[in-house]
């Protein structure tokens, strides 16, 4: 709806003063948030930021390039395990280890991208799904990866130990700032990728891969590149996730985690970066916090407890979050397939010409 008159208008980061203002407000809020929140919420914010990185990366693949991935938990796991192993076994400092781990994940993304060149629809779904399951089983069955019990994350030392610079982050508070800065950089990176030649090629492939090939886009390069970029994001997020949790085990990276990632971007809005950020935050909140103490909430809690006692079982009350997630997924797809982003666009359109 915003008409663009020059190329520069399309690539500039802040389209207007309003957007710049609200971005600054958001940044101030994000940087002061931990000062007012409890320990549990800090942990939740860290998870949200990690999920934001994955969701933004997955959106490049699913939303912008139009490929389907049900195996992103695999890349996430590769990032987490690689970071932990590179740091604890080889003694590589944190930042090089994280970036190296992300490149390892990107390499696997490239490998998975190769069969994806020929596959579409259900066939691509099963291939990515099989990849995710395979990664989960490999890390669960090899001694190097700690088997079923997993690995403990080393100390989060963001200095370089070999040179004597040590800066160990131990609290959720300090980790929050590290993850926040990395997340902001990753989101900026994603916004910029989508404005370059590469990003436009991705969108062209999504809209019609045959037409894209006809106008001279090399499908082999760009499809595998899209998988690799997306896996790179998941790898970075995985490396941070290992330190948020403090340990990694294969059960964490199961099939459902891949579904949650997919749901984040679908609920947020396919192809929209702000949408995937909102979706990641919302789904993380829904999964980890919204129904945590449901039985203590006045009225609603009593109602849920009485239903559970009368018809269902009281121990299974935690499953409310799975039910809510299912309803959100179905509801969004039926009523607003564009997700939060679609709702935002509609609201904006409505108020733009409001009295008329």
């Amino acid at each position: 709806m915003d008409m663009k008159r020059a190329y520069y208008e399309d690539i500039e980061l802040f389209k207007s003063g309003t957007i710049l203002f609200w971005t600054i407000v958001l940044m101030v809020v994000l940087f002061t948030l931990p000062l007012f929140s409890s320990k549990y919420y800090l942990y939740l914010f860290n998870l949200m930021l990690v999920h934001v990185i994955v969701a933004v990366g997955l959106n490049i693949l699913v939303g912008s390039t139009g490929q389907i991935s049900l195996g992103h938990a695999g890349f996430f796991a590769i990032g987490a395990y690689s970071t932990v192993l590179l740091m604890s076994k080889l003694g590589i400092p944190f930042f090089p280890a994280l970036i190296l781990a992300a490149f390892i994940a990107a390499f696997f993304g490239f490998i998975l991208g190769l069969p994806a060149l020929r596959l579409e629809g259900p066939y691509l779904t099963i291939a990515t799904l099989a990849f995710g399951l395979a990664i989960m089983h490999i890390i669960g069955h090899m001694e190097l990866f700690g088997g079923r019990s997993g690995l403990r994350a080393p100390e989060l030392n963001i200095g370089i130990q070999q040179l004597g610079w040590n800066l160990t982050l131990t609290t959720d508070f300090s980790k929050y700032y590290l993850i926040l800065i990395i997340a902001i950089l990753m989101v900026l990176g994603a916004i910029n990728i989508l404005k370059t030649k590469v990003g436009r090629a991705f969108v062209a492939i999504r809209d019609s891969d045959i037409a894209a090939e006809v106008i001279g886009i090399n499908l082999t390069i760009y499809k595998t590149l899209s998988f690799a970029v997306s896996a790179f994001y998941a790898g970075i997020a995985g490396g941070l996730f290992a330190f948020v949790l403090g340990f990694v085990d294969p059960i964490t990276f199961n099939f459902f985690l891949s579904i949650y990632f997919l749901v984040m971007i679908v609920v947020g809005g396919l192809g929209s970066i702000m949408g995937s950020i909102a979706g990641a935050a919302f789904i993380t909140y829904l999964m980890y916090a919204l129904f945590k103490n449901i039985s203590d909430v006045p009225y609603v809690g009593d109602f849920v407890v009485s239903i559970s006692q009368r018809w269902l079982s009281i121990t299974g009350i935690d499953n409310l979050s799975a039910i809510a997630l299912g309803l959100v997924m179905i509801g969004i797809m039926i009523f607003e397939p564009m997700g939060f982003f679609g709702i935002w666009i509609r609201t904006k359109k409505y108020w733009k010409a409001w009295p008329f």
């Binding site: 099963i126 099989a130 269902l312 299974g316 799975a322 797809m333 039926i334």
Partner: protein, 291 residues
């Protein structure tokens, strides 16, 4: 374990996957939806059998019959409530809706019956064995699987070729709009195919519980394997999915015997390798997207 034993067990397991894959293929054939909820729909109906048996002490066959009816209604309802209202859905949004149904059913089942494993005894057992030909030991369970799979195959063959509803389903699959013009109520055809698929899924799930355990997640892995079998068979062909299922079962059993630790994923790895060579499965014409 001798070769014959592995062969028979693998084929029986494969027949289960194939049967369950039929549930996936039935829906994909008519409405082009990949039903990720198939496993959980079957799981929920199996829990109905369990509930009627344990808490109301119904006889097994009555409980199974009631659950079959429940499964048919459940399948049709899922289609009616969740899939019909979606406007111009894409492949991804259909996948997300069925995944949502999966979360919903799994959440309800764990809420109702708890996540712990259940005792669930059926009148068929894989401990009782027969030896019709010397060297070929076949368990009661494997025999039941083969007989039921054969009956369902024969039924589906007759159904698709001789009945009006079956013809209508094939017509809907070939061209939805043309079928509508010819006076077929395609929405009702979809609801019927979902009901049918759910019933077949329940049969496969009941057969599988005998071999495995009963808990709200027990159909997840069989579903993924059945889906892989369906993909291997080309998603569209009914004999294809049974052959795909047999390949899955045999691969899993033989590789699983050689390397037990890698049993759950060998079949998937083979699937991906096969898809690299034949991108549309073994038994389908090449899947070409319309421009």
């Amino acid at each position: 374990m001798p070769f014959e034993q592995l062969l028979i067990e693998g084929l029986a397991m494969g027949a289960c996957y194939g049967l369950f894959g039929l549930a996936v293929v039935m829906i994909y054939k008519t409405s082009e939806v990949i039903n990720f909820a198939a496993g959980e729909m079957a799981m929920f109906s199996t829990f109905i059998v369990f509930h009627l048996l344990t808490f109301y002490h119904w006889p097994f066959w009555a409980a199974l019959l009631a659950a079959l009816i429940f499964a048919a209604v459940l399948g049709a309802l899922v289609q009616y409530i969740f899939l019909r209202p979606a406007k111009n859905p894409t492949l991804l949004s259909l996948i997300v809706i069925t995944l949502g149904v999966e979360m919903l059913l799994m959440g309800f089942a764990s809420w109702k019956w708890g996540a712990e494993q259940k005792e669930f005894s059926l009148p068929i057992s894989y401990m009782v064995t027969y030896e019709p030909i010397k060297g070929f030991v076949i368990s009661q369970w494997a025999m039941a699987v083969f007989i039921i799979a054969a009956i369902i195959m024969a039924f589906l063959y007759v159904f698709f070729n001789k009945t009006n509803l079956g013809t209508a389903m094939r017509a809907t699959q070939q061209n939805k709009h043309a079928a509508k013009i010819m006076g077929i109520n395609t929405d009702r055809v979809f609801a019927f195919s979902w009901g049918f698929s759910s019933v077949i899924g329940l049969v496969a799930a009941v057969l599988l519980t005998t071999k495995t355990i009963l808990d709200p997640q027990f159909m997840l892995e069989p579903f993924l394997k059945a889906f892989a079998a369906a993909v291997l068979g080309g998603m569209m062909s009914i004999p294809g999915v049974l052959i795909g299922g047999a390949i899955m079962g045999l691969l899993e059993n033989f590789f699983g015997y050689a390397w037990p630790a890698w049993k759950p994923i060998t079949a998937f790895v083979v699937i991906v390798l096969v898809l690299c060579v034949r991108p549309s499965g073994l038994f389908a014409k090449h899947w070409v997207k319309k421009v």
